[in-house]
């Protein structure tokens, strides 16, 4: 044991540890400006700070300490012996059958549901109650929608926000909160906006996806990236239709009039929490069934080997467009919830930042894994809300984006299948790494 540890000590690895920790120090350090472009970098190491609350010192001291610990852990990790070797064969072990897993799954699901139901009674802080709706519930919805696109169909959508915006603006339109007259000339309840928003977002997805999805996967990524920006340009400039940068007029809350039952969702977050919970559960159920259906298997087949999939009669374009449209309509739906819950919408809230944020939730949780994506969304969104609620010294809200960008890279380098990987995805990645299979290849001009 000792021998292997010493053998594994390496200068290069130590320097890498220091470099990684230095980058973290800069990421979490003070900001600079064009007047003092180096202030952020130097300040990251020279500012006063406390050594984990023990004593006063300068920033580089705790960070050097972290670097040493990081290096030690890394070295010990490597000394555990080659654990990677088992990777492929472990990935290839026969999967447990669905019937074996079913009771466990139901148990876990019920526990989660129970926790979700009592949660607003445990947490009474209004900040967190609102966050649970606006920043966690809606984001879970968005993440499981994007998961259909990225996780199930293996397509990169970088303009997810566009469909969210379409949903939100459709709600404003249907409820009469836009300068342009509402659909059918009457101000309807946001509930009626749901099918309309889903339909319009889906159509937008099909119109954008159908031509683009014929081509290589990365073209979709860039076209959606552009589309996300274009939607904001339109929202900002079409004053007569969208209200421009001033945003919309007041969008009403959801309300229910079923015979004698009358209920109005108001400003308090808890009723919205339960409404969102219902929506989330419905979407989760639908997408789980979808994953294990014919459609889910067809997506897997296309992801793994498009030529083979086509040879057994699967039309890849049709399935890709469908995944894209399902993702788009989920985002449109989430847009309805947000629009009605927040009462106003502004073009400035539909940014690239938003699309990337949702992508991070999917990637971090594990693309293709519904459980992973939900947990990923909860973890990341809770984390970022925590940073907003009680920021550590020197933290600025926009630093979050730096962390999210770094997280995307780190996940791809170290854990591409995510926190809780989907079994299929993990197998695919392992097989691709072992040179098996044809899952979207790079650097090989493959002939069928």
């Amino acid at each position: 044991m000792m021998m292997t540890i010493f053998q594994n000590l390496s200068v290069r690895r130590f320097l890498s540890s220091v470099a990684v920790v230095a980058v973290i120090a800069v990421m979490t350090g003070p900001a600079g400006s064009t007047e003092a472009p180096t202030a952020g970098f130097t300040g990251s190491f020279s500012e006063k700070s406390s050594f984990f609350g023990l004593f006063e010192t300068i920033r580089w001291v705790p960070f050097l300490f972290i670097a040493v610990v990081f290096f030690a852990v890394w070295t010990l990790w490597l000394s555990r012996g080659e654990q990677l070797k088992g990777g492929v064969s472990k990935a290839l072990a026969a999967p447990r059958s669905a019937t074996q897993r079913r009771p466990v799954r139901w148990g876990i699901t019920l526990v989660f549901l129970f926790v979700a139901i009592i949660l607003p009674h445990v947490i009474s802080d209004p900040f967190w109650q609102a966050a649970m709706v606006e920043q966690i519930g809606v984001y879970i919805l968005l993440a499981i929608g994007l998961n259909v696109v990225v996780g199930f169909a293996g397509l990169l959508d970088l303009g997810f926000v566009a469909f969210y915006a379409i949903g939100a603006y459709t709600t404003a339109w249907v409820t009469g909160a836009l300068p342009t007259p509402p659909l059918f000339g009457i101000h309807m309840d946001p509930f009626f906006a749901i099918p309309i928003a889903i339909l319009i977002a889906m159509l937008a997805g099909i119109i954008l996806g159908a031509p683009t999805l014929r081509l290589r996967g990365d073209y979709l990524a860039i076209v959606t990236l552009g589309f996300g920006e274009i939607i904001t340009i339109f929202a900002n400039n079409l004053y007569g239709i969208t209200g421009g940068s001033q945003g919309t007029a007041v969008i009403p809350h959801f309300s229910l009039h079923l015979g004698p039952i009358k209920y109005l969702w108001g400003l308090t977050p808890v009723p919205y929490y339960y409404l969102t919970l219902v929506f989330v559960v419905l979407f989760l159920a639908a997408f789980s069934l979808l994953e294990h259906s014919r459609v889910g298997r067809a997506w897997t087949a296309i992801r793994e080997d498009e030529v083979a999939a086509e040879s057994v009669g699967i039309n890849p374009l049709k399935y890709k467009v469908m995944a894209f449209a399902i993702g788009a309509s989920t985002a449109g739906f989430a847009g309805v919830v947000t629009a009605s819950q927040s009462n106003n919408i502004f073009p400035s809230s539909f940014t690239l930042q938003f699309s990337i944020n949702i992508l991070v939730l999917v990637i971090f949780g594990g693309m293709g894994s519904i459980v992973g994506v939900v947990l990923g969304a909860i973890v990341i969104q809770t984390g970022s809300m925590f940073l907003l609620h009680s920021p550590p010294a020197g933290y600025q809200p926009s630093d979050l984006y730096i962390y999210l960008g770094a997280l995307l890279m780190v996940m791809m380098i170290f854990r591409p299948a995510g926190l809780i990987p989907s079994r299929r995805r993990r197998r695919e990645i392992r097989l691709s790494e072992a040179g098996e299979g044809h899952a979207d290849e790079v650097l090989t001009g493959e002939q069928p």
Partner: protein, 268 residues
Amino acid sequence: MSDKIFDVQNVTLRFGGVVSLNDVSLHQNRGEILAVIGPNGAGKTSLFNSLTGVYQPQEGTITFLGRDAKPISIIGKKAHRVSAAGVARTFQASRMFSALTAFENVKIGAESHRGIGVLGAMLRGPATRRGEKTSDAKTEELLKFVGMTDKANVISASLSYGDRRRLEIARGLATDPQVLLLDEPAAGTNPSEKIQLTELIRKVRNEMGVSILLIEHDMKLVMSLAERLYVLNFGGVIAEGTPDEIRSNPAVIDAYLGSSTVETEERT
């Protein structure tokens, strides 16, 4: 005349300057086990890809006799449409859905021709459930047919070469084809697997009534299985006939059987 399941007339396929198929005309009768042989690079796989909609030849016609004896033109059709019309195939380097089990591989073939039905899938209505049952039953049956029932839950990437070949055949058969195209099915298999494979191919034709179009380098296997052969060289047909006729055809012996010079000259 009307019993030609494939009728290929004057097909030419080019890739830039390379002519893969040069004015190829051939046909396959319904129910026939037909083989295409020829040295590496002769254009055999290109022919298969043209027959299945993967490649689009620049000239010529390919007519396929579909399910209700309706002639269909293959050229210009996408691969998935060709599959739906009743053409199944395997690949030279077998292409499984490697991260899925053997069962799932076959099931994907079994259910691909039904409509998509997303809403049904999300709600899991009675029709969807019935569909699942039908495909499960069909999959089990086909796995039994190719003798892989015990390997149903094995991830396909960890199957042996011979098993992958058989699984690919089962997956192709799951699409209810009229004709099955096999691209070098015996490559990389051992002698006993070869015998099993020969049996299986015969069984596919005799019991399921599926016509077989076969590319194979193993002469013993080809000669024992095929009822008729075409010989391809440099993208063109140089001979046609029964195994006996081919064996004694001087042009074939010259180009292919007699010496291995051609084979070593050609790029593999």
